[in-house]
């Protein structure tokens, strides 16, 4: 998919919002509606849509191109002093991105990315990273967490919510991150005892606010709640 071709890139402003692929789009047609249409593009798109309605080949081609795009890493970055930079509809970044090479990266949102142990190399080179979001990353596991210690000086916020491979053993190596102020460890299915783990992590990182499982979850209900349950009849 080349940058030239149809229509201009949607401006080089720094706060473009991408269409969110996995939620609001239903097939190709939903996708084309989600992209904020610029004037010149609208006619071309409705023609393509018409063709896609009529011919299976065109529809299959659009689906294939969509799948190819979705497979590219969908990283959003925020630079110091600026707003979030996200890729546009085609997965491209605005052209003046290259001028930001010297500006340190402050926050990285890699949620849902298929980043793995080797992929973290690129993140660890960011010496001034303050905020790292790794929510729902399917390949981030305990080994990856043990690699995060070079970011100890700058990292203040870390989110690991929903990562299926992280267990309490990996959380133990977060104690290197002494500047951490916000840590999100909610919804980790591989952690065997979420309530106890939350308490232990809070003890390990005293100056950090740990968001996670409610520690009371998993405890048996008290006597007054129990009597309430038995008192109310089962609704018919």
């Amino acid at each position: 998919m080349k940058a030239g071709g149809r229509g201009k890139l949607g401006g080089t402003r720094l706060h473009l919002v991408t269409p969110v692929w996995n939620r609001s789009t239903r097939g190709i047609r939903g996708l084309s509606r989600a992209v904020g249409p610029e004037g010149s593009q609208k006619k071309g798109r409705s023609l393509l849509q018409f063709l896609a309605d009529r011919f299976y080949d065109v529809q299959a081609l659009r689906e294939y191109l969509l799948r190819k795009q979705v497979l590219t890493v969908h990283q959003k970055n925020r630079f110091q002093g600026k707003e979030w930079i996200r890729s546009n509809a085609r997965g491209h970044f605005p052209l003046d991105f290259v001028t930001f090479q010297a500006v340190p990266v402050e926050a990285v949102d890699a949620s849902g990315c298929a980043i793995n142990y080797q992929g973290l190399d690129s993140l660890l080179a960011l010496k001034e990273l303050q905020s790292l979001w790794l929510q729902r990353c399917p390949h981030v596991d305990d080994w990856c967490l043990s690699r995060l210690h070079p970011l100890a000086n700058s990292l203040q916020e870390l989110s690991l919510a929903g990562c299926p491979r992280i267990s309490e053993r990996g959380l133990a190596c977060l104690h290197h991150l002494q500047n951490l102020r916000r840590l999100d460890i909610s919804d980790l299915p591989a952690v065997s005892n979420p309530g106890l783990t939350q308490i232990l992590v809070e003890e390990m990182l005293p100056s950090c606010e740990v968001l996670g499982a409610d520690w009371a979850q998993g405890l048996k209900s008290g006597p007054e709640e129990q009597s309430r349950d038995t008192a109310s009849p089962i609704p018919a």
């Binding site: 142990y117 305990d142 080994w143 967490l145 043990s146 690699r147 210690h149 309490e168 053993r169 990996g170 959380l171 133990a172 190596c173 104690h175 290197h176 065997s192 005892n193 106890l196 783990t197 232990l200 992590v201 003890e203 390990m204």
Partner: protein, 471 residues
């Protein structure tokens, strides 16, 4: 009709005996008799095997895995693993504390450990078996913390330099930094500490063993539950360049005896791998290693002995928390966290004079009271109140020469390869050692990691590769 009786009247007594013998034999061959040449031998190992690995622990299975993985053509090598104890009740592998570290003083040990941690990280790519669930070795990446007193500080610094050169991620900490990081440590007497940041921790050795077992079985390695009782070898004489005569031996057969039975099977083999762990010395003696005048190469025995080590499991409610690394004190006592419930595992290696009798695996609880608890309680004041819940003992395959492994062929018994003598750090080096031995067998030299300092020759030449950081 002519029968024995008629002939007997005519012939001599001798002939009578022989003929009745022949008659008995004929009777036994006929149906209903006792002779049965085609009996079921499926419980016995095969009669021929290219490689026989004596010992089915993590080292033996690792060698089997890499032999099958590096063979040039699929199915080229037939491997047989002989293990005497199929429940692994006395095997060092499963009784181990399960730690893996790169903080050694010998560069080869560091390389072996780095290779092994990479193997463990990608264990499901190496040991994947179709339709079987993936392995979870429960790795805790908490790192090792080695403490040194004034005396050992200089050695620790030079060791850390070597470790960093090889690629280990280790940092040095002063007592003050140590207090900031781990407030539960009492730094009195500690001059320097080295802390492994990555690639160090502990894991579940049983899972690794089962994963290897499952994988090598799927690759076609045969297992035999039996004991090696005899090696049948042939000798040939050769003359060295200096005119000395040496006797080269070649093992042709391995007699494998079944448990609780007198049945044995002579397995014809080309190569024997001694991975019998703590009992490697006995296997080497069977093969004739060390039978000769002392001071000669023939008379150099394999210096691997059984040494008993205790591991204690205790609970301490106010003990150190989730961030606790594997702590090794300057006195040699060590401990690590186990689970989330304030439980800890630990122990200490006894001095030479206090070595317990390795005849059995009974635990000496006084040893904990007198030798393990005082240094640990001094180092971690919270351990003054603790309660021992459990304890067990296991064997080290202790190399009395220099406490490092023996890898590679024997110079005189030309087809016996050693993979033993790791003195407590065998589990963490097993994947790499397996690869090294397989490369030696298949290619004749080491390729990924050069383990020539660990060959058998050093016992005769007196060249020690002393490992200082053993626990």
């Amino acid at each position: 009709a002519h029968d024995g009786k008629t002939v007997g009247r005519l012939g001599e007594g001798n002939q009578n005996g022989k003929l009745s013998e022949i008659k008995k034999k004929i009777q036994s061959v006929l149906p209903g008799g006792a002779w049965n040449p085609l009996y079921n031998t499926s419980h016995l190992p095969p009669e021929h095997s290219d490689v026989v690995i004596v010992g089915g622990g993590v080292i033996g299975l690792s060698v089997a895995y890499w032999l099958k993985r590096l063979e040039k053509r699929r199915g080229a090598i037939r491997v047989l693993v002989v293990e005497r104890d199929h429940t692994y009740s006395r095997a060092s592998t499963v009784l181990s504390v399960g730690g893996i570290r790169q903080q050694f003083s010998v560069p080869e040990n560091i390389q072996l450990s780095l290779f092994s941690i990479e193997f463990l990280r990608n264990i499901n790519e190496y040991l994947a078996v179709v339709d079987d669930p993936p392995l979870d070795i429960q790795f805790n990446p908490a790192g090792y913390l080695l403490l040194a007193s004034e005396k050992g500080a200089a050695v620790m610094e030079s060791n850390v330099k070597v470790q960093r050169q090889e690629g280990a991620k280790v940092c040095l900490m002063s007592p003050e930094q140590l207090r900031n990081k781990f407030p539960w440590i009492n730094t009195e007497g500690v001059a320097l500490a080295s802390y492994g940041m990555e690639h160090e921790g502990w894991f579940d050795p049983w899972c690794l063993l089962q994963g290897l077992r499952r994988k090598v079985q799927s690759m076609g390695v045969l297992f035999c539950h039996g004991e090696v009782t005899r090696f049948v070898s042939s000798s040939s004489h050769a003359v060295t360049t200096s005119g000395e005569e040496v006797t080269l031996k070649r093992i042709h057969e391995v007699h494998v005896k079944r448990d609780h039975s007198l049945e044995y099977q002579p397995v014809e083999c080309a190569i024997v791998i001694n991975a019998a762990g703590a009992w490697s010395g006995q296997i080497a003696e069977l093969a004739g290693v060390g039978k000769g005048p002392p001071g000669t190469l023939q008379g150099t025995r394999l210096p691997v002995e059984l040494r008993k080590r205790y591991v204690y499991f205790w609970h301490c409610p106010q003990g150190p928390g989730l961030e606790t690394p594997f702590v090794i004190d300057a006195s040699g006592a060590y401990f690590r966290r186990e689970g989330l419930g304030n439980n800890y595992l630990g122990g200490c290696s006894p001095t030479e004079e206090e070595e317990p009798d390795p005849g059995n695996l009974e635990v000496d609880h006084d040893f904990f009271q007198n030798k393990v608890w005082p240094p640990l309680a001094q180092r971690v004041p919270a351990f003054e109140t603790l309660k021992v819940r459990n304890a067990w003992a296991g064997y080290y395959d202790y190399n009395t020469f220099d406490q490092n492994g023996v890898v590679g062929p024997h110079p005189l018994v030309v087809n016996m390869y050693f993979a033993t003598g790791f003195s407590g750090h065998g589990l963490q080096q097993a994947p790499a050692v397996g690869r090294a031995v397989a490369e030696m067998v298949l290619d004749g030299h080491f390729q990924t990691i050069n383990l020539s300092p660990f060959l058998f020759n050093r016992f005769y030449l007196g060249v020690k590769v002393q490992e200082h950081n053993i626990i």
